[in-house]
Subunit: 308 residues, 2 copies
C-alpha cells in the first residue's frame, strides 16, 4: 500500500534518489536540438522532439541506477499541448523501463475539480462509465493551501492502483519562509501546521513500511526543519528537493530518513541532466555523464544513509 | 496597466461577472455528446470534441453579456494532452470573441520553473531566441504557498502585454479554513498574511484604477472575510468564486467591490453552464439557457453593486 511500491524499488537499488526530468530546451545538447529542428522546425514541435530524445537517452542510462524519475510539469506545459503530449510519452517510456514516475505538478484545487486533476494524472478520466487514462503517473506532488478538500480526492483516485502523492510542506526555495515560516498563535509554524494536517488527512492509509499515501515535500536546503519534521511526522514519506545545484548536501538530507534508512527520496535535476556540460565535451556523452552523476549522488548519500 | 483591461471590459458591459468554463462531459447535452462520439468514438478525443462544441456554443451566447470566461484547467487536463489541445483552441476562440480569458490553473512553483509556467500560459516559450505562444491566456490563477518566488515570475511574464494574475488568499471551499484560518502569532490569520504579502509583492504595478497586477481569490462563501480583505488590500483586484451553486449570494459578494463598484469580478460556472438542466428540455436550449442565467446573474449583482 501507499509508498510501499517506491520503498521496495529504493531498497532493491539501495538508492533513495530520484532523477528530475526538467525538460528545458537549454539542457539538450546542440546536436540533438539541430536534428530535431531540421525535421520539425525551430518551434514548439521541434523543441518537444529534441527534449523527448534527450529524456529517452537519460532514462536508458539511468533506469538501472535510480528507482524513479520526476518530470516537472512546468517545462512541458511551457511548450503547450505539444509539450503535454510529449510528457505523456515520457511517462509511458519511463514506466516501460521500470521507473517509478513522480509527476511534479503541485496541483491544488477542490472537490470535483481536484477529482478531475486526480483522474487525469492517476486513475483516468471517466467518460460514459468507462475510464480513459492519459498522464497515468505513479505519484503526484500537491499544494494543500486549500485544505483537505484539495488532498483527499487524490488519495481516493490513488487507491485502486496503490499510487500516492507528496504535499508541499517546507519547500527548498529562498522565499519559502515568507508564508511557511510564519509563527502561529499556538507556537508552531505554518509549515508544521501543514505537515501535521497532511499526516492526519491520510491517517489509516499506512502501508507495510508505516507511511501513509500522502507524503510531504521537505527541502534539503533546510536540514534543521527536516530533522524536526521527521520526528513530528513518523508516518509521512518525504520528497527532498534541493540537493546539489540548490545547495543541499548529503549530510543535510540524511535527516529526512528514519533509522532504517526508509521514508525519503532525494531529488536531483540539473546535477544529473546537465552533467554533460561539465565534461568538456559537446554533449554526445550526455547519457554517460548523467549516469556517472547519478552513481556519484547515490554513493554520496550512501555515506550518510544505509537503506535496510 | 495590470487589471485595467479587465476593468474596462467590465465597465463597458456594466457586468462584473465571469463565466466559468468547467469542461465536464456530464455538463454537455446528450445530442452534442452523441454526435461527437459518432465521429470520434467514446473516449478522450470524442469527449474533447463534444466539450469544444459546447464551449463554443456557450461563448457565442455569452460574449455580449459577460466580459470574461474562466476555463478551469483541471477539466481539460482530465482528458490528457488532447484536453490541453482543446483548451488552447477554447482560449483562442474566446479571445476571437473579445472575451478576457482567466486560465484557472492555480499553479505555484519557483524560480525558473515558475517562469516556465508563466511563459506557457502568458508570454510564450523561449526557443532559440524566439517566443512561441501556446495557451496564451490574459490572466492566470496562482497558489502562493511557496512565497514571492512563485508569484514574481508571472508578473514579469505578464508585463509585456499587460496581463495579470490572481493569487489564492481565502478560498470558497468548506476546508479552506484548515490552513488559511489558522491564527498567527501576531493576531492575524494565514490568509491575511498571504493577502498582505501578495499586495506587497506587486506593489508599484498599479494601473489607472489603482490595482496591482496580482489580484486575489476571495470566496463568496465568506462575506465577512471579504469585507475585511477589501479594507486591508485597497490595491488588490478580487476574483470571487462561490456565487450560486456553492451558496454565495449577491448580497455576499458586494463586499468585494470598492465604492466605485470596481476591483472585483464574480464567477459562476455550474449556474451558467448547466442552466439548461433546469429548463425541462433535452439541452438543445443550452446556449439560450446559459445566456438567460448570465443576464439574471448580472441583474442580481446589479441590485447591490453599481459599476461606475
Amino acid at each position: 500500500m501507499s509508498f510501499d511500491v517506491l520503498q521496495e524499488k529504493i531498497r532493491a537499488m539501495k538508492n533513495p534518489t530520484v532523477a528530475g526530468l526538467d525538460a528545458r530546451i537549454e539542457y539538450v545538447p546542440e546536436y540533438i536540438r539541430q536534428a530535431a529542428y531540421e525535421q520539425y522546425g525551430v518551434g514548439l514541435k521541434g523543441a518537444c522532439e529534441a527534449i523527448y530524445q534527450f529524456n529517452v537517452g537519460l532514462m536508458d542510462a539511468l533506469c538501472d541506477i535510480v528507482p524513479a524519475v520526476k518530470p516537472q510539469a512546468a517545462y512541458y506545459e511551457n511548450l503547450g499541448w505539444q509539450g503535454m503530449e510529449m510528457l505523456e510519452r515520457t511517462i509511458r517510456y519511463a514506466k516501460s523501463k521500470g521507473l517509478f514516475v513522480i509527476a511534479d505538478i503541485k496541483r491544488g484545487d477542490i472537490g470535483s475539480t481536484a477529482t478531475a486533476y486526480a483522474e487525469g494524472w492517476l486513475s483516468g478520466a471517466g467518460i460514459e462509465g468507462q475510464q480513459f487514462k492519459s498522464f497515468d503517473a505513479d505519484c503526484v506532488t500537491l499544494n494543500g493551501y486549500m485544505g483537505s478538500d484539495s488532498i483527499k480526492p487524490f488519495l481516493e483516485a490513488a487507491k485502486a492502483e496503490d499510487k500516492c502523492a507528496f504535499v508541499l510542506v517546507k519547500t527548498s526555495n529562498p522565499g519559502s519562509g515568507e508564508l511557511q515560516d510564519v509563527k502561529t498563535a499556538d507556537g508552531r509554524t505554518v509549515y508544521q501546521v501543514m505537515g501535521t494536517l497532511n499526516e492526519s488527512i491520510a491517517a489509516g492509509t499506512e502501508g507495510k513500511y508505516g507511511f501513509t499515501m500522502a507524503g510531504a515535500v521537505t527541502g534539503a536546503t533546510y536540514p534543521e526543519q527536516i530533522r524536526q519534521l521527521r520526528a513530528d511526522l513518523p508516518h509521512t514519506f518525504f520528497l527532498v528537493p534541493g540537493y546539489g545545484a540548490q545547495g543541499g548536501t548529503a549530510a543535510d538530507v540524511k535527516y529526512a530518513f528514519d533509522a532504517q534508512g526508509h521514508g525519503a527520496i532525494v531529488n536531483s535535476s540539473r546535477g544529473i541532466m546537465c552533467a554533460w556540460k561539465k565534461t568538456g565535451g559537446d554533449g554526445h556523452d550526455f547519457a554517460q555523464a548523467a549516469r556517472n552523476a547519478a552513481i556519484a549522488m547515490r554513493d554520496d548519500i550512501a555515506q550518510f544513509v544505509t537503506v535496510e
